[in-house]
Symmetry: C2
Subunit: 203 residues, 2 copies
């Protein structure tokens, strides 16, 4: 389970998308949210957009692995797709904030790798939010304040990547994914492979 | 500190060399040895070739971080270059066997990342040793037996890379190096960077 967090505008979603395009073994956990859909967003792809009532029903029946309120809206991670992916040995990517990451670690302490993506500067973060042209000035100001609170939690993550260049930041995240899969204790098939090697005759 | 181990012929030295060529922040720890120099080897580059007497003197004055006997010859890691590199914040690459790796962990428990490189099969390992054409058949047989003992220690390593394709194996080792440097707890400068971010005004 790979958790990718960052303040909005730091490039997390672009990096996540590129990662999913290039890595067949990785599947995105699509969050549910009660916030209104933005123009470019597709229901079921970027989020499952839910009414408050449906969100509460999922949360109350423990169909969510984590749930949090951000900017007055609710977000959550559906349990079922994650459990299916885990059973089938696929890796799952979570594009969530620090609150979600904390809860996920508590619910599924198993095997989580977490990466925090930092903007190179707050000024650059502000320009990126402006270039996105999806938010009003007031919303951008709120996002920047929330970015600060989000950034304060950088210490809770295993890895930190500064996104001063998108290609470089992507390569860094990709290297982390490749390396984590090479960890000895994450490779159940290796024991049989080595036993085979040791049993092989070479006379 | 990056430890790279493998049975001889599994590609460790080629991977180490490529890594050093492409990574300016990485320096090779050149081991000392009492074994005879092979035709292609250069004193001070591949090893420091020592007499038994000089080796013993280094070992007895604690000028070696680790020392081991393999195939009847002695090997060791000089302490001084490692301490200088650590002081200057450079990473050090150790091309040593499992005995050396164990001792290094005991002497310098600090911050060691260890990678074990496995051959795809013993038959392939044997062909590689033959192609190298540096050893007699009897020596190759000894190396294969020693390879088995070496391989038995694969569990002591953080990462395991199977070298079935040299480019892929190199890319895997490179990804591990990149990822390990991105670990939050290995980046002393990050605290100041984040403090700077949080202090930055964007009004």
């Amino acid at each position: 389970m790979l958790v990718l967090s960052s303040p909005s505008g730091a490039g997390k979603s672009t990096i996540a998308r590129t990662l999913l395009e290039n890595d067949g073994g990785l599947e995105l956990s699509v969050s549910v949210t009660t916030r209104p859909r933005r123009g470019s967003e597709i229901d079921g792809v970027h989020y499952h957009f839910l009414s408050m009532r449906d969100f509460e029903r999922m949360r109350d029946t423990e169909a969510l692995l984590e749930a949090a309120e951000v900017h007055g809206n609710f977000y959550g991670t559906p349990r079922e797709p994650v459990e299916i992916a885990m059973d089938e040995g696929r890796d799952m990517l979570f594009d969530i904030d620090w609150q979600g990451a904390e809860q996920l670690k508590a619910t599924m302490p198993a095997d989580i790798v977490s990466i925090f993506i930092l903007p190179p500067s707050m000024t650059e973060l502000k320009s990126r939010l402006r270039r996105r042209a999806e938010d009003s000035d007031a919303t951008i100001q709120t996002r920047l304040e929330n970015a600060r609170s989000e950034i304060e939690h950088w210490r809770d993550y295993d890895y930190v990547v500064v996104n001063d260049d998108l290609d470089r930041a992507y390569a860094a995240v990709r290297a982390i994914v490749i390396a984590e899969r090479l960890k000895r204790d994450r490779r159940p098939g290796l024991f049989d492979f080595v036993s085979g090697l040791l049993a092989e005759r070479t006379e």
